[in-house]
């Protein structure tokens, strides 16, 4: 279902063509990161730290170097030591330990050999002497007085202090008079919450092949959300010139934020440089879970004040994120994610605290789900206390254009109210709650980002077009690019070939993250097409023998008075004689990414003898601005929701006291399977973003923000117990029921 504000009639935008890269993917031809082999290629393997925190006293690689098949060994000593303050210093240390291993699974050395088995055997033969250091595993441990340092390198960002600290960021936000508001409140609810480490869980493990030639140039084939970032990070970590490195984007098998940074490429590059051979490294699932970016665990305390008629007058709270072994902006970014309600009085503090666990990475609306879980739970409890409909309460307080965001500055036009109304009016919400079940509501949003993108549009001799961008396609964005180009040029979407090109074949483009590809790269495509249309009109004027001003572009053809319309193919056929190839490149730094709000509704049943929660029905309404390809907008909404349901119910990292992850497999790290979920009904709300030519808002992030509170609110209404700890796994739910 789609709820749309008034907008122009589009011919292509909003249709659902088969995606251009789809055929290769259903016949098994699409080449993902691990699917390519270079001639003469070696295989890389790692030695990883078995300790949560340990000084590396000595590494002896002698035995490994003479083992069968071994061609190269690298350790931290082979990497340049980047100065403190270089933003990629932590990236480099995270992918190869230097003075100390900072978490179990931290890479200490790497080997390239003829076969993977040989490389693994040799890596295991490397001897490392460690001095064990105290391990910091939780926010409480990290922030305790006199706590040992998880990473002595760390300084608190934006603090002005140069003292080592376990705090990555401390971000206060304040407005109004919170104390007075609580004093005057009719209702106050205060709760503490915690959430576990969770992983993005993309099905494709990280992989790359790197071939460094005798001229020192590196040819990189990698799976990433941003191959330009792979290039810049690899160059920074190795202190190489960027121009030495070419990165070709493989098809990417899921990222969700986890493939916005690198783990392998510089190691493979050094192994290749040393051995003179291409080196392929493919992570195992175990390695992915142990040593690539999970989302931070969190702990929070939230207190909200309200009047009897449901006005939320103040929020006061603290949210801490366990960010892992190096500085991370999770706490800082989390601070920005509290901006759904007007709250005239607000006093919040957000903290990122270091732990001896893997460096956390972005995961879909990074830091927002943890905050939304806490805040949306307390708001629901206020609705219960006031005996008010949870949607009515939210409608009363929802931000609209001009209301302040958490960081200051007014919201642009946003669609929160429209999403609340969409759920309120939905068949799901209006239906009676099934016998034995209960219903929950939750909301969330993400600001989204713009950033830099480039696009080249080539018109071919026969009137077809090639749209070349630098945005890896992680969820169908090629189809969106082609749809926008079809709309602009007026040709059939399947006469357009969208291509994601390597770093040497298209202009610089930032990472596919923050729901920016269809928004920002789409804008670059539109700009290029618009410039091409101007050129087409000029060429048509030449061909038709009319003045340049006399030509209009209508539905894929040049139209001039008293002339037959000249279709695009008629112009491209005469390109040579009218000035040469028709090609335009557009680049931009896009501003004005519009926030996307979502409202979720679910029905659950709780087995009160086992604590198992079953999700019976789920509906999501989300503001897409304009859905370029509605199927993939729905897909983003459904996928984010499913990940959120996993986060809510069963996903968690289980660590022992030394920081060893005990459940590093898809057997025991329990992402939802098909039989765990119902259909996920979608309502696309379209409140166009005024800053995009078609009104696009990014849609990828927001879907994961509301589910945890949505389910917790339903469970609370089903059982009378407020679940405040994620995941709401059966043992925890049963224990909570026992305390009832």
């Amino acid at each position: 279902m789609t709820i749309t504000e008034d907008r122009p009639a589009y011919k292509w935008v909003g249709t659902r063509p088969i995606r251009h890269d789809g055929y290769d993917k259903v016949v098994g031809k699409a080449r993902f990161a691990a699917d390519r082999n270079f001639p003469g290629q070696l295989h890389g393997a790692f030695l990883r730290s078995p300790h949560g925190h340990a000084r590396i006293l000595a590494i002896d690689t002698a035995a490994a170097e003479v083992m069968p098949g071994v061609k190269a060994v690298v350790t931290g000593a082979d990497f340049p030591d980047l100065p403190v303050g270089n933003p990629e210093r932590d990236t480099g240390i995270n992918l190869m330990a230097r003075d100390a291993a900072l978490y179990v699974g931290h890479v200490v050395a790497a080997v390239a050999a003829s076969t993977r088995a040989e490389a693994e055997a040799a890596a295991a033969a490397i001897e490392v002497r460690y001095e064990l250091l105290p391990v910091v595993l939780s926010i409480d441990e990290s922030m305790a007085d006199g706590a040992p340092l998880a990473n002595p390198d760390n300084r608190t960002a934006f603090s002005g202090s140069d003292d080592p600290s376990n705090l990555a960021t401390v971000t206060p936000l304040e407005r109004g008079d919170v104390d007075a508001a609580f004093e005057a409140a009719d209702v106050v609810v205060e709760r503490e919450f915690d959430t576990a480490w969770v992983h993005q869980g993309y099905i494709e493990p990280h992989a790359c092949v790197v071939d460094v030639g005798p001229d020192g140039r590196a040819d990189v084939w990698a799976s990433s959300q941003g191959h330009f970032r792979v290039r810049s990070q690899t160059a920074a970590v190795l202190d190489w010139d960027t121009a030495r490195i070419k990165v070709t984007p493989a098809e990417i098998g899921g990222g969700f934020g986890g493939k916005t940074t690198i783990y392998l490429e510089p190691v493979a590059a050094l192994l290749s440089e040393k051995s003179g051979r291409p080196v392929k490294i493919v992570m195992t699932r175990d390695e992915v879970l142990r040593a690539t970016g999970p989302a931070p665990a969190s702990k929070s305390r939230i207190r909200i004040a309200a009047t009897n008629d449901g006005e939320l007058t103040a929020i006061d709270g603290w949210i801490g994120y366990a960010v892992g072994c190096t500085n991370d902006m999770a706490g800082f970014v989390g601070a920005m994610s509290v901006a759904s309600y007007k709250f005239p009085n607000l006093k919040m503090e957000f903290v990122g605290a270091l732990t001896n666990t893997p460096r956390s990475a972005a995961y879909r609306a990074p830091s927002a789900p943890q905050a939304a879980f806490a805040i949306e739970s307390v708001i629901d409890e206020i609705a219960q206390a006031l005996d008010m409909d949870p949607i009515e309460l939210r409608l009363k307080n929802a931000v609209v254009e001009g209301d302040l965001t958490s960081m200051g500055g007014p919201h642009p036009r946003v669609g929160f109210v429209e999403c609340l109304e969409a759920i309120r009016d939905s068949e799901h919400y209006r239906s009676s709650v099934p016998e034995g079940a209960a219903r929950g509501i939750g909301t969330g949003f993400w600001f989204n980002i713009g950033e830099q993108s480039s696009a080249t549009v080539n018109l071919n001799e026969d009137g077809t077009a090639t749209v070349i961008t630098g945005s890896p396609d992680i969820g169908g964005s090629r189809a969106s690019m082609a749809l926008m180009a079809a709309e602009e040029l007026g040709i059939d979407v399947h006469r357009i070939t969208p291509v994601v090109a390597d770093t040497e074949s298209v202009g610089f483009t930032d990472v596919t993250e923050g729901s920016r590809a269809t928004f920002a790269t789409g804008m670059a495509v539109v700009n290029a097409c618009r410039e091409l249309v101007e050129e087409l009109k000029a060429r048509a004027a030449t061909i038709l023998g009319v003045g340049a001003d006399a030509v209009e572009w209508v539905d894929g053809a040049a139209v001039a008075a008293d002339k037959d319309p000249l279709p695009l193919a008629g112009i491209t056929a005469k390109a040579k004689g009218t000035g040469g190839p028709l090609t335009v490149t557009a680049s931009l730094n896009a501003g004005g990414a519009g926030p996307s709000f979502a409202v979720h509704c679910c029905d659950v049943v709780v087995d009160d003898e086992t604590g198992r929660v079953e999700v019976l029905r789920y509906t999501t309404a989300q503001d897409a601005g304009t859905a370029i390809h509605p199927s993939y907008v729905e897909g983003q909404m459904q996928g984010g929701t499913a990940q959120g349901i996993g986060w809510a119910l069963n996903e968690e990292y289980v660590y022992d006291d030394d920081g060893t992850m005990l459940n590093a497999s898809f057997l025991d790290y329990r992402v939802p399977v098909a039989s765990d979920l119902p259909m996920i009904e979608t309502i696309i709300v379209e409140v166009p973003n005024p800053a995009h030519p078609y009104g696009v808002r990014g849609v990828g992030e927001t879907g994961i923000v509301p589910p945890m509170a949505t389910i917790a609110n339903a469970v609370s209404r089903a059982t009378g117990v407020r679940l405040s700890s994620l995941p709401m796994s059966p043992p925890k739910v049963l224990a909570a029921l026992d305390e009832r």
């Binding site: 195992t284 175990d286 003898e609 086992t610 604590g611 198992r612 119910l649 069963n650 289980v654 005990l662 459940n663 497999s665 898809f666 057997l667 025991d668 329990r670 939802p672 399977v673 039989s675 765990d676 796994s729 059966p730 043992p731 049963l734 224990a735």
Partner: protein, 290 residues
């Protein structure tokens, strides 16, 4: 690492006799993950699936013989087998995904000696007997005596399970297996409970209760069975005092551990719950079959 696929039990015995480091396998659904987790690779992999006797299912003279390497999918699809042992068929059918079902087997599930093995409680509840190939012949022991602790069995080096035998259940018998997992599929049981009852008129005349994942091996719980024997099932349901006693006995029999999959307290509690629920299903089946 070498691979061999003997065609007869005797060939397999000879291979194992020649190589103390050899490892038999059927589905390898546990072996491969264990090797990836660091278990040393054996020098010789002996694939038992090419031995006809190990993959055949027969029913003769009131006795079922089930090849130890028979894919569990073949058991769940076998209507006569499933009608005779619905609980065992259910347990066997819960081992992993459909993909795994085409590889997993009763023999592998038992010999892997995980306390959480889904087919084992109902196999024991139905008094399954394991026929074991020894160095020079075979011996037969109750299935309950094969696993001795997590990852440990009573099988000597070179021994492997050839087949299981099960007697046709007496008239008025029903069995059931339930397990608790956080998801709906693809998990290892946190608790499993198999119950078999025989009903005579309106009274339970015989019962067996076996719990999984709550002790180092699957455990037979005589006290729980005793709570059922003699109980009335008039009207189709067990009376409350019997179910309460059953649950209490099941909880008392637990000797669980805290681990990544569940806590001691949770396992104990849910063992009682599942025993009760499985008993109710078994009773219903017994009455329908009677």
């Amino acid at each position: 690492m070498r691979y061999a696929a003997p065609a007869t039990v005797e060939e397999a015995q000879a291979l194992l006799a020649d190589d103390a480091d050899a490892q038999v396998f059927a589905g390898a659904t546990d072996l491969v993950p264990q090797m990836r987790a660091g278990r040393p690779a054996p020098s010789l992999l002996v694939d038992l699936k090419r031995i006809d006797r190990l993959t055949s299912v027969t029913h003769e003279d009131g006795r079922w013989t089930i090849g130890a390497a028979t894919p569990t999918a073949d058991l769940t699809r076998n209507e006569a087998f499933t009608a005779a042992f619905p609980g065992l068929s259910e347990g066997a059918g819960l081992i992993g995904s459909d993909q795994i079902q085409n590889r997993s087997s009763l023999g592998g599930n038992l010999a892997n000696a995980s306390p959480a093995a889904d087919s084992v409680p109902a196999l024991i509840a139905n008094d399954g007997q394991a026929v074991i190939a020894t160095a020079d012949g075979t011996r037969t022991v109750p299935a309950a005596e094969v696993a001795t602790g997590p990852g440990h069995t009573s099988l000597a080096d070179g021994e492997f399970i050839v087949e299981f035998t099960l007697a046709d259940p007496p008239a008025g018998t029903g069995d059931a297996y339930l397990r608790m997992i956080p998801r709906t599929e693809m998990d290892i049981a946190i608790v499993g409970a198999a119950v078999r009852v025989t009903v005579d008129g309106d009274t339970i005349s015989d019962a067996t209760v076996v719990l999984g994942a709550v002790a180092p091996t699957a455990v037979v719980v005589p006290d729980a069975a005793a709570a059922l024997v003699g109980a009335s099932v008039a009207g189709g349901t067990l009376d409350d005092s019997a179910t309460a006693a059953l649950a209490e006995a099941a909880e008392a029999a637990c000797d669980p551990i805290d681990d990544k999959r569940g806590t001691i307290a949770y396992r104990r509690r849910v063992a009682g719950v599942l025993a009760r629920r499985a008993a109710a299903i078994a009773v219903e089946r017994a009455r329908n079959g009677a």
